[in-house]
Assembly symmetry: C2
Homo-oligomer: 520 residues x 2
């Protein structure tokens, strides 16, 4: 089975004209880097697997600090002058910072990745999230766990299963390995490099602003390059100019003050699960648009360059839907690329009492949901949250930011506690015609050729707005992972071929052409 079919699932095999990387002939430096990486693949994977073996949920402060200390050692070994960036009272996970300065360089790049991972529910995993294992491909087609044979090259379709394998220790490690490849081949970066490895990205990076302000001089740059997220769904490399913002909202609606026997009270006391179902159902139209008034009002429309980039990007929504077992898109007639340029409202989870074997015949006291709001250019966190609150009020709810009092319960038929979690942030979008952006694209094309996709906004979120706000530098995202990596869910994985390509891409970007030599 071809690499491409494995990579994207069966659906992509129907699009014969769509090319996965690297169809571009590797010559010159990219060929040198690829050869070095191939020759050192097993020692690189030994180090990467050990790094993945460390629990890294950002809420576990001791675990995250152990990761930071190991990362410092990994960087020190490479001569990258690492140090921890701590917030004022050292209460937060530290960022890990490093430098590689070169004589005569006129530009500076900060290269960003994050070393913390999403929370896990081990019961949902097919293997221990922090004991990396290999499979020959995606879990649904290759469930067997296999061993890596250090005497042979590894098949690029093999995948490594572990929390953070793709999101985002792959980014951290590809950056370090790219420096190895340059140094081993006597190549210097063409710009001064600064490394910034975030330790609380999955928590919304609540302290990154403080860390940047405390280290403003070290972090001044011509651009920040963000190594996170998956490559384009077509399997082609992409350079991303923007990200959506993100905010989480906790929602609780209330039933009887005590849990009640559903036999003795069923039909008489309204079940909070039914209230929550009605409320959530009110939030979207049957056509999949968010039915919250004002939701789309502040959106800054896409410009001509952005529309052209979207039109030029490879797209196979029909194949993607088929691969995911779907008949239609949520908003029929709206493409994925268009959909992620609009603000979203997602239900992350619902919890009311229990189901299945643990269920009991009760009318529960409350029903909870966690919502995820994605923001695009123009939206503010407070604005979208305000629209949502107003919508809930319009459904007849008394909206509180705390549990109701007895007096409120007996004077309001519908009460909701609605709270905005801290750590939300707006979207970011870098202009596509900025010189540094054109140079980064040119560097990527030395590896990817004309297959490089330019993406005005990707669907995921990073606090990039803050980087521009504090340091003044524009941001560009260079994603590395396979699109079907189960990021944020159980059985997260990295296709190893994507790690090799990530190293090649980052080495090329570190060898950025000068502004004069670059073209687009």
């Amino acid at each position: 089975m071809s690499r491409m079919t494995w990579l994207l699932g069966a659906w992509v095999s129907t699009i014969a004209s769509m090319s996965a990387f690297p169809v571009h002939a590797q010559t010159g430096e990219p060929a040198v880097i690829a050869a070095w990486t191939a020759a050192h693949q097993h020692s690189l994977l030994d180090e990467f697997e050990a790094f993945l073996g460390m629990p890294d949920v950002a809420t576990d402060k001791a675990a995250i600090r152990r990761n930071a200390e190991v990362l410092v050692r990994m960087m020190d070994k490479r001569g990258l002058h690492p140090r921890l960036l701590e917030n004022a009272d050292r209460s937060a996970p530290p960022a890990v910072y490093g430098e590689w300065s070169v004589p005569g360089a006129t530009r500076t790049l900060v290269i960003y990745a994050h070393y913390d991972g999403q929370a896990v529910d081990p019961a949902e995993w097919s293997s221990d999230p922090w004991k990396p294992v290999w499979r020959r491909g995606r879990l649904d087609v290759a469930p067997e766990i296999v061993e890596r044979d250090a005497s042979k090259p590894i098949d690029p379709d093999w995948r490594l299963y572990a929390r953070s394998a793709s999101d985002d220790k792959a980014g951290v490690f590809a950056i370090l390995a790219a420096t190895d490849a340059l140094k081993a081949n006597g190549l210097l970066p063409t710009a001064n490099l600064r490394f910034f490895f975030d330790g609380e990205e999955e928590q919304g990076s609540p302290h990154i602003g403080e860390l940047m302000r405390l280290n403003r001089a070290s972090l001044r740059a011509d651009a920040w390059l963000i190594c996170d997220g998956p490559v384009h769904l077509s399997g082609r490399r992409q350079l991303v100019f923007g990200v959506r913002g993100d905010a989480n909202v906790e929602l609780t609606v209330y039933g009887p003050k005590r849990p009640l026997h559903s036999g003795h009270y069923g039909n008489f006391i309204v079940n909070p699960a039914l209230k929550l179902a009605r409320l959530l159902a009110s939030m979207k139209t049957d056509e999949g648009r968010v039915a919250v008034a004002g939701w789309y009002d502040d959106v800054v429309p896409l410009g001509a360059a952005e529309k052209a980039a979207i039109a030029a990007a490879p797209e196979d929504d029909a194949g993607l839907l088929r691969d995911l077992g779907q008949v239609t898109a949520e908003m029929p007639g709206t493409s994925l690329a268009e959909a992620i340029n609009q603000p979203s409202l997602n239900i992350n989870g619902i919890r009311v009492a229990d189901v299945g074997a643990q269920a009991r015949n009760v009318i529960p006291t409350e029903a909870r949901a966690t919502l995820d709001l994605r923001l695009v250019k123009g939206n503010t966190v407070e604005g979208q949250f305000g629209h949502l609150r107003a919508h809930i009020e319009k459904q007849g709810y008394l909206v509180l930011d705390r549990a109701p009092t007895d007096g409120e319960r007996t004077s309001h038929a519908k009460i909701a506690t609605v709270t905005l979690e801290s750590g939300g942030y707006p979207a970011s979008r870098t202009p596509m015609d900025l010189p540094i952006a054109r140079d980064v694209a040119a560097a990527m094309r030395t590896v990817a050729g004309d297959s490089l996709v330019l993406t005005p906004t990707m669907g995921g979120s990073l606090p990039l707005y803050l980087i521009t706000e504090v340091t003044g530098a524009p941001t560009l995202v260079i994603p590395l992972a396979n699109p079907d990596n189960n990021q944020h869910a159980e059985n997260e994985n990295l296709r190893v071929g994507h790690l090799w390509d990530g190293i090649a891409t980052l080495a090329a970007v570190m060898r950025l052409p000068s502004a004069a030599a670059a073209g687009d």
Copy 2:
């Protein structure tokens, strides 16, 4: 604070004319029984607490068998000739059977209770569910744990907190204690007594039919008396002629085949939580009626005697709603007594991914709910389940009894797995003018006086239809527990005064007047 206020919560204090038991002057035998019970209260409670200290979830077969063995010893000590009733292959929890035959008795009563308990989530409990503790009242007003002083009478308002404290080891123990009280005072029952203690009632008693058929001769009777459930909400004793039937349905709707990052796919792939919310919201009208076509079609209307009994029963729906923190009943204008004479559709629980600190920004692969269907006279399990299935199909769903195939996923936008759990059963209703029913009511009035409430149907469920079907005997329910006992939920409790009254009531019923002497 008066016993009555404690008993029912603050709301009942507004209904000064409503009398809690026992306003009826205790003379004759009831006074003798009450005096004996008071004198022996601490030794009775020692035995009861030890019984409650045994985990008793029916799915834990080893635990439930230990309960059965202890119960055999408790009955043997009392000379009640206990033995285990096993199903054919001994795979089920046994029932515990016993006898007290009397010379010259012309009638036989089977007295039923169950010794198994509902499942628990210990995290939700304020104390260990199987380490009984005392409080001075209901948890919300008397959170402090207190010790019983064996040198003094216990306040009847004190409550014992443990799983099965009310549902239904209170029933089992009150029956045994009533035989103690009779024997200690040289009194014999006026009918032959048979005891039947069920070990899997909370699982829907799937083997009770088999046990009754295997032991038909021992279980033939003029009536089965069911000691389970709470007394009337007014706090008055009640005799119940019917129960609702019950069935559980598991419902799963499907999202993408893989969990997806809500940023990269939000707005493009429909979230199964939203599908489930829409589907559940479609099941009831805004006025609280079940919107499933045919739901009410088979209901046998109440007769004149039943309507009169409902009209005569004390009712304080407004106070009850206030106590539960509710503004209105689910069907405004429909009383609780009317509501429980209609079939219901309750959401026991919903589970979609996670909420709160465990939530992740994902579009999950499925959304699950457990539904509870209560049936009234005329409904069948298969009929109501069929109506529900048809309703889900009418919402555009392909309804399956298994997970969908890939082919089904890509050809149907909406797919639901809908399964009827085993163990469901129909309702039961005994005619109110049956002679044995009039005699039981008369016996109860020797303790309760005119405060006795006659209830055509209670909201809870028991497999009483099957007793009548297999043994031919009518069933009558004599509930004992306080209405706010948190039955089926966390912090289940028994107000100890209700235990004393239960013992008095059962002793009176064992001394049933002859048919000739009884009046109504």
